[in-house]
């Protein structure tokens, strides 16, 4: 019994020792665990701070972006204002230029119109004088002078009429219809009043164009007449007319074998009152025919007039229409 109790004492001591050891172990374990937890907390905290830093950077950058967008928008609106201002100034200029142009046109029109009346009177008076001079048998020189006055008066009359015609181009909307170029050329040919019979060749079928017939007649007649009038030997004049078309344009070529026009004069022939010197006084021009033709083509026929020529090479006038005006099939 005693022995038993002794034994149990020993066992108890052992147990105490064991539990102390275990306690120390547990303590150490929990200390290590705490160290480990603190380590992870530190890592976690580092990550969290990194996240906050990133969020802050993002906000700063967003604000910067907002500011630069704002500046950009401001700059843009200033630019738009400036463009608007410039456009308005430009429009104002255009308006005042148009006004000035209209005033000049109006003045020219009235001046030309009003000059015609006294000119007509002068013409009639010269007629009376001529009759009287023939009756009174005055000298040939005097007759010649009066005759020259009459031709000048006639020329001035033509000039005034041409100016009025030029000013009237593009004022009204003209009726259009499919017009056969071939027919118009034949009409022109029949109406020519030269002593010689000019050689006019139509090299292909030509096409029909949707245009005003009278205007096309006027244009072709003028170009064909010029080709004969300014030919050095009109009896040898050859005029070839042909056509061509592509995706954008239909073209009529009126080509002659005349003296040609030097390239440096190409601009000049289309300018009003600009003439090229000729030796023959009968061919004296007033310098308004081609400008009228060009204006009619551009403003009333929606086309373009081009010139290909050089001195001694003959001249080719090219009349371009937008392809929409070309009528594909002849209407019989």
């Amino acid at each position: 019994m005693k022995k038993d109790s002794m034994k149990s004492m020993d066992e108890k001591n052992d147990e105490n020792l064991f539990s102390e050891k275990r306690y120390a172990l547990l303590l150490e374990e929990s200390r290590l665990k705490e160290v480990e937890t603190q380590k992870w907390k530190k890592r976690f905290d580092r990550e969290r701070r990194a996240r906050k830093e990133a969020e802050m950077i993002l906000e700063v950058k967003s604000r910067e972006l907002y500011q630069s967008n704002l500046q950009l928008a401001q700059f843009n609106s200033e630019l738009e204002k400036e463009v608007k201002k410039q456009t308005e100034a430009l429009e104002e200029n255009i308006t005042s230029l148009e006004k000035a142009n209209n005033n000049i046109r109006q003045f020219t029109y009235l001046a030309s119109h009003d000059l015609k009346t006294p000119l007509r009177a002068i013409g009639s008076l010269i007629g009376f004088i001529e009759q009287d001079l023939v009756t009174y048998k005055v000298s040939e020189d005097l007759l010649e002078c009066v005759h020259l006055i009459r031709t000048r008066v006639n020329r001035m009359h033509r000039l005034l009429n041409s100016i009025l015609e030029y000013l009237n181009i593009g004022k009204g909307k003209l009726r259009t219809e499919p017009v056969s170029i071939r027919e118009v050329v034949l009409d022109v040919q029949n109406s020519l009043s030269f002593k010689i019979e000019p050689q006019i060749n139509m090299l292909d079928d030509l096409f029909l164009i949707d245009t005003n017939k009278n205007q096309l007649y006027k244009v072709l007649k003028h170009i064909i007449e010029n080709a004969i009038k300014y030919h050095l030997n009109p009896e040898n004049a050859i005029i070839n007319i042909y056509s061509e078309k592509d995706e954008k344009y239909g073209r009529i070529y009126i080509s002659d074998n005349g003296p040609g026009i030097a390239k440096r004069y190409h601009d000049r022939v289309f300018q009003i009152f600009q003439t090229l010197a000729t030796k023959d006084k009968n061919k004296e021009s007033i310098g308004i025919g081609l400008p009228i033709v060009k204006k009619v083509i551009e403003e009333e026929m929606n086309g373009k007039l081009l010139l290909e020529s050089d001195e001694g090479q003959g001249a080719t006038f090219i009349f371009c229409f937008p392809i929409e005006s070309v009528v594909e099939f002849a209407i019989e």
Binding site: K52, E55, L58, E59, S62
Partner: protein
């Protein structure tokens, strides 16, 4: 709702109730949270999620939801004061600060977050009495407890002797009147 409300809320929970509690309130409703509880201050998240998180916290801590939201409001104000000190320095008093929320602070917030849906805080001095301020809180979220926490946080920030009363103007709490009195 702005992400900062979420990140600051979770951080507050971690600080005051421990990481495990923060984990618990997220894990309990993980399937209800669009991002599984992952929030960043610069994002925007459904405001129902903050309600879920607060409700879960209330269950765990046995603290009523309004009290938790109010305390969070105070905490949030302190965080705002830390991160956006400029707004606080440009006002000298609680009243000045509260008046600047709609006219100034939220204008700046909208620059960064144009699609933010912000509550309105319209302020006026009743009978032109500058010792009193009436503030009408209007928000579809109906989180006036958060507003009262923020107001109380502001009063503490400016260290002024101000008391206030809160009165619901609509039953759903989407419009609430705060009447503040500054005691000399």
């Amino acid at each position: 709702m702005k992400g900062m409300v979420f990140t600051e809320f979770l951080e507050m929970v971690e600080d005051k109730f421990g990481f495990d509690t923060a984990d618990d309130i997220i894990e309990t409703s993980k399937d209800k949270l669009s991002t599984e509880g992952i929030y960043t201050a610069v994002g925007t998240y459904p405001h129902t999620e903050i309600i879920t998180l607060v409700t879960n916290l209330s269950t765990v801590t046995k603290i009523p939801v309004p009290k938790l939201v109010h305390v969070f409001g105070e905490h949030l104000l302190n965080q705002f004061a830390k991160h956006y000190s400029g707004f606080f320095e440009s006002a000298d008093t609680t009243f000045d600060f509260l008046k600047s929320i709609d006219n100034h602070i939220h204008v700046e917030v909208l620059k960064l977050y144009p699609d933010a849906e912000l509550p309105r805080f319209s302020c006026f001095h009743p009978n032109d009495d500058t010792a009193k301020l009436t503030m009408i809180y209007t928000s579809e979220r109906g989180m006036s407890d958060l507003a009262s926490g923020l107001i109380e946080g502001s009063i503490k920030y400016y260290n002024e002797n101000i008391t206030y009363e809160k009165e619901l103007m609509t039953e759903d709490g989407k419009q609430v009147k705060f009447e503040l009195i500054h005691h000399a």
